[in-house]
């Protein structure tokens, strides 16, 4: 299988604290890969350095064979990597439609942007119903949908999702995970960061377990789901 994203020995420091201690992982085209771990394990840091929001202090991020650690964050989107950030971070004082259009900021093909918008409305009918509403007035689950729709507007090859289930009611969690699977079926590769390890492992092909800045385990999601130590530490059994 073709490797889309290949991270080698990535390390990130916050001052003197090393948040990522040289982690390596890869994501193949078409996969759903989960990155699970507790609070503070370095999951968000990993995604932020992939998107260029924080600079890596060492290692390599190879995306479609191109080295990204020196690339400015605003240039990464147009390479086909979009992120749904933790806490959704929708533009609260802008309308749903404005948020979605900003997702297509790097695209110039007006007609195709309209097509993508239609597709997104089809996937998230609720966003179309509320397109002129301020994003800040949406419920948490709707904001999560908006954040996902916004990321999809850039027409990404890979989408990085940071804690999409955080703070959502169980019904919405199921809905969001269903959408992640649907998006993946349509050909978008997914790197999923989750504290809800059980859910993440259920939909992922493979997974990595992150603990205080290091990857301590990796493998097929199904085998991690049955792993005794993982069950104890992350699945609450």
């Amino acid at each position: 299988m073709e490797t889309l994203l290949d991270v080698k020995n990535l390390s990130v420091y916050y001052g003197v604290i090393q948040a990522l201690k040289g982690i390596s992982f890869h994501v193949d085209k078409g996969e759903v890969v989960a990155l699970i771990g507790a609070n503070g394990a370095g999951k968000t840091t990993t995604l932020h350095s992939l998107s260029g929001l924080i600079k890596a202090d060492g290692g390599e991020i190879l995306y479609k064979g191109k080295e990204l650690t020196k690339t400015a964050s605003h240039k990464i989107v147009s390479l086909g990597m979009a992120q749904v950030p933790e806490g959704r971070r929708v533009f609260a004082e802008m309308s749903v439609l404005q948020n979605l259009k900003l997702g297509a900021y790097t695209r110039t093909d007006k007609v195709e942007i309209e097509d993508t918008l239609k597709m997104i409305y089809k996937r998230f009918p609720r966003l179309e119903e509320r397109k002129s509403q301020m994003a800040g007035t949406l419920s948490g689950g709707e904001q999560q949908m908006l954040a996902m729709g916004r990321a999809l507007m850039s027409h990404p090859d890979i989408i990085l999702m940071d804690e999409p289930s955080m703070g959502l009611s169980p019904i919405f969690v199921n809905e969001i995970f269903q959408i992640i699977q649907d998006v993946n079926k349509d050909g978008v590769t997914v790197l999923l960061v989750e504290q809800n390890a059980k859910k993440a492992l259920t939909i992922a092909n493979r997974a990595y377990v992150l603990e205080t800045g290091s990857i301590i385990k990796e493998g097929a999601a199904s085998s991690l789901l049955n792993d005794e130590s993982i069950r104890k530490a992350y699945l609450g059994e």
Binding site: S51, G52, L53, A72, S73, H74, K75, I76, V77, S78, A82, Q83, P85, G87, R89, V90, F91, A92, E93, M94, Q98, K101, L102, G103, Y105, T106, R150, A151, S154, G167
Partner: protein, 294 residues
């Protein structure tokens, strides 16, 4: 009838404050910094008009264009040289103190080049205006032009922000720079554009201010700058319509209190209003309550 005259002149002064306040508020909205040197850009603009118009024997149109272009470049340069390196500094005070430094720097450069003596600025608006109601109500040309210009500026700015991609990028970056970068927005370039617009507005405000109050010194911009800051806070800093409302209110209050209360006390009244607003509604008239992230 005289009340109406004062009201209109307050509206005109307020329009100038509003244009300056727009620059303050836009820069604050996106860069989250108070550019205390903003008022001095007005002074720089006035000196450019003064010099260019003088050199061209009275052609003020070219003077105004030169002022807008050069102030824009000055704004971009200041942002790049003085403010950008401090973005993300540990304390937000660093950039605030730098802005005050830039303010003193500009004032002293002007002092060095033009000297401390007050230059008499000849109005860029030659139109005399008109009288109404059998000569009882006289409205000066500069008053009308000032009010019209401020309305045009507000409308153009609102259209720019609502209708253009760059404007939307500006809004997005003012809300959340990280999320904006994730959309592919070049946040640094967006901030630079904001400074450019704010500085161009300062040049326009300068042309109007010195046309209405034709004396020019290195400190010309300082007081209007501070008052425009008060106007921006009054209207709700970060809000464009707020800056407009705040500016107009401040201008009217200043002129009316000069007329009916005391010309010495008018500044005290203006700043007293700032204190009251900060006590009663710290976010200003149209300011939003910033919600804590859950």
């Amino acid at each position: 009838m005289s009340f109406l005259t004062y009201l209109i002149s307050g509206l005109s002064l307020g329009s100038i404050y509003a244009i300056i306040a727009l620059g303050y508020t836009m820069v604050y909205g996106i860069a989250k910094m108070l550019n205390f040197a903003h008022g001095d850009f007005i002074m720089v603009g006035c000196y450019i008009i003064f010099s260019v118009t003088g050199a061209l024997s009275g052609n003020s149109a070219i003077g105004i264009i030169a002022a807008i272009v050069l102030c824009t470049l000055l704004g971009i340069t200041t942002e790049f040289v003085a403010y950008r390196p401090l973005r993300g500094a540990a304390s937000p005070l660093a950039v605030l103190i730098t802005a005050i430094g830039v303010s003193y720097f500009l004032e002293n450069v002007a002092l060095l080049i033009f000297g401390a003596d007050i230059k008499s600025f000849s109005s860029v608006i030659k139109w005399e205006g008109f009288t109404l109601a059998d000569g009882q109500l006289r409205i000066q040309g500069v008053t009308i032009v000032t009010i019209l210009v401020s309305v045009v500026v507000l409308v153009v700015l609102q259209l720019f922000i609502k209708k253009t991609k760059q404007g939307q990028a500006m809004l997005a970056a003012s809300e959340d720079k990280g999320a904006a970068a994730l959309m592919g927005i070049n946040v640094n370039r967006t901030i630079m554009l904001t400074f450019a617009i704010g500085s161009a507005l300062a040049a326009i405000a300068g042309a109007l201010l010195c046309s209405a109050y034709p004396s020019l010194s290195p400190y010309t911009g300082a007081m209007p700058g501070i008052k425009a800051f008060v106007a921006a806070v009054l209207g709700g800093i970060g809000s464009i319509p707020g800056a407009m409302i705040g500016g107009l209110m401040l201008g009217i209050i200043e002129i009316l209190s000069k007329t009916y209360i005391s010309s010495q006390l008018s500044d005290a009244i203006v700043f007293g209003i700032l204190v009251i607003v900060l006590l009663v509604k710290p976010t200003g008239i149209l300011g939003k309550v910033i919600q804590e992230k859950v």
